[in-house]
Amino acid sequence: MAPPIIQARGLGKRYVLGTGGSRTLRETIVSGFAAPFRYLSGQRAPQEIFWALKDVVFDIAAGEAVGIIGRNGAGKSTLLKILSRITTPTTGEVRMYGKVASLLEVGTGFHPELSGRENIFLNGAIMGMTRAEVRARFDEIVAFAEVDRFLDTPVKRYSSGMYVRLAFAVAAHLQPEILVVDEVLAVGDASFQRKCLGKMQTVASGGRTVLFVSHNMAAITRLCSRAILLSNGQVAADGPVAKVAGIYAGGAEGVSPTEVDFRKIGKPPASEHVRLLAARLIGDQPGSPIVDIRRPFSFQLEFEVLDDRYPLHPNVHIFNEEGSCVFITSDGFVREYQQPKSPGLYRSTVTIPGNFMAEGLFSLDLAISTLDPAIIHVHERGLFTFSINDPAEGDSARGLYAGPMGGAVRPILPWKTEALDAGFSLRGQGEA
């Protein structure tokens, strides 16, 4: 591994809630006078202390692209603020060996009254570039931001899309050793997001370090090789992006993102007729709950049949992020499975074809049921969370389109387009 360019050791950030940063002189004077009395009477001013970050430790090597993920309030923004030197940690220290450019908010330092041109220089200077450096990259920045026609328009007249494009373009063309980008790309349209991700990829592959915060897991997995999961201000997971994303999606402790072995965690879900022993998700990357939309993947479950009273059908229920059921599948249509099985161990596998489900985050219920009469023997809810990602390389159903795409399913269907008026001229040419 390359030598670390960022070293964080025992980082902690404490905020005192309630009393804000600024106090009036009077409050200071009054509380100064009152302090001895408070002390004597044993009263303390009530202060609520909140640790936004606690004992955060990590090393980041030069050239790594690291995604920082976590739920709202997990400490992501605070961490970025410390890394970009906006605020200092309460405990611990962070060492950075290189120039940092951070894009924590769209258009930081832009002045609405100034033109795009003036703002490029202003913004560049705020990020630590000299005029000569900005001038050298000026055309590149303008071309990337696609604002050449509006260079002399005050940026207050810009659309929000133009605003982000310009802001991102300046930050990304700074050539800092470390580029820190918060969730700002969400503002731009999809094709620009793709462009930004591409730019960050170039930055990262050029040996520079990218730290990227996003809620868009697809973007994170596309760009980053490694992810750090923050939870309640602490590092909950740190490692290959697929693994960390799985932990983030899955949540539960002691359970891998792609496998639950009920025998190991005790208490297998069971009825008097059947016992569920294990369940796993088998994607194209072992251990990863992130599935390429183009590839088939499978769910597998192992169960023990305890008696042969009922026919048993394992079934899988898949829900999208809104909680709607996308589909349910079982082996109920197979004639030979419509008979009771003899007691023993069984393994069932169902394969979901590639180019079938839409992109997104899904959760999975597993059940073992009898269909006639309808009896649910075991039903495990939210067993896995997995994500279907479309790398948008042109051979999936979205083709080269990179924008938001609706639809509950995303199949590739047989299409055929024939030229109707070209036949004559072709035949004519052939005869000539």
Binding site: S22, R23, R26, K81, T88, L114, I126
Partner: protein
């Protein structure tokens, strides 16, 4: 709590930002105003007219020697304006730049310093007006006039040194934003801006010496009009501003780590 080379290097790396921020303020200020840059001239001009009518014609205050009162007054206003607008802009500067302070890192000390630079640019414009008035009223140019520039620099240093304190304290105690305009308002009367220091009775002179701007305003006019320059008092004013500025800078560097959390 000491100063390291890193602090200096840090600021040096961002030296161009100082100029760009100052220029931004000037540009923004005049961009939308239809009279544009003329405002920088109009302000001292109107003040001069009002003070001339009020203090010279009505109250019968005179100037030093044979200097026409309008020129005398404008000279005082030019150098005082540098100090007053520099200090008051600097004190508000961090609060006005909250979006920058909470979102991007650069040495924060550049924010108040840039506002001082903006005041310097305004002062230069006012200086052009002053030169015009001097020609118009046939005030002879003295060889010592060039010394007015370094003396104006002392005024800027005074504003910067106090401005560092005021801007940082403004985040901690919002009282500053109410107290400071009042303080500047009072100080203009305690400084010989539109009256001559010679009208102050001898027994009050020591109190006058406590105000570093007295020597600056006196010196500025003396240099322009070829009167004896109070070098000793100017030296004290310079020493005052450097000392206050140095401690202000150290304190500022110390406090700036918490700025983002305080704003």
């Amino acid at each position: 709590m000491a100063l390291s080379w890193q602090d200096i290097r840090d600021i040096w790396d961002y030296r161009e930002l100082l100029w760009i921020l100052a220029l931004r303020d000037v540009r923004v200020r005049y961009k939308q105003a239809s009279l544009g840059i003329a405002w920088a001239l109009l302000q001292p001009l109107v003040q001069m007219v009002v003070f001339t009518v009020l203090f010279n014609r009505l109250a019968g205050m005179g100037s030093d020697g044979a200097i026409p009162y309008p020129v005398f007054c404008l000279a005082g206003l030019t150098v005082w304006g540098l100090f007053a607008s520099g200090l008051s802009n600097a004190s508000e500067s961090l609060l006005n730049s909250a979006n920058l302070v909470t979102k991007v890192y650069f040495p924060r000390v550049l924010i108040p310093l840039a506002t001082i630079l903006t005041a310097v640019i305004d002062c230069l414009l006012s200086g052009v007006l002053l030169a015009g008035m001097m020609i118009l009223m046939h005030v002879p140019l003295h060889a010592t006039a060039f010394l007015a520039l370094p003396i104006a620099v002392i005024a800027a240093l005074c504003a910067a040194s106090l401005g560092l304190w005021a801007s940082a304290l403004n985040l901690q105690y919002r009282d500053v934003r109410y107290a400071l305009p009042f303080f500047i308002q009072i100080l203009v009367y305690l400084t010989p801006v539109f009256y001559s220091a010679s009208v102050v009775p001898d027994r009050y002179r020591p109190f006058l010496a406590l105000n570093p701007m007295v020597a600056v305003v006196n010196g500025f006019r003396a240099a322009l009009f070829g009167l004896p320059i109070p070098y000793g008092a100017l030296g004290l004013s310079l020493a005052f501003s450097l000392l206050v500025g140095l401690f202000g800078f150290i304190r500022f560097r110390h406090l700036e780590q918490t700025f983002a959390d305080r704003i």
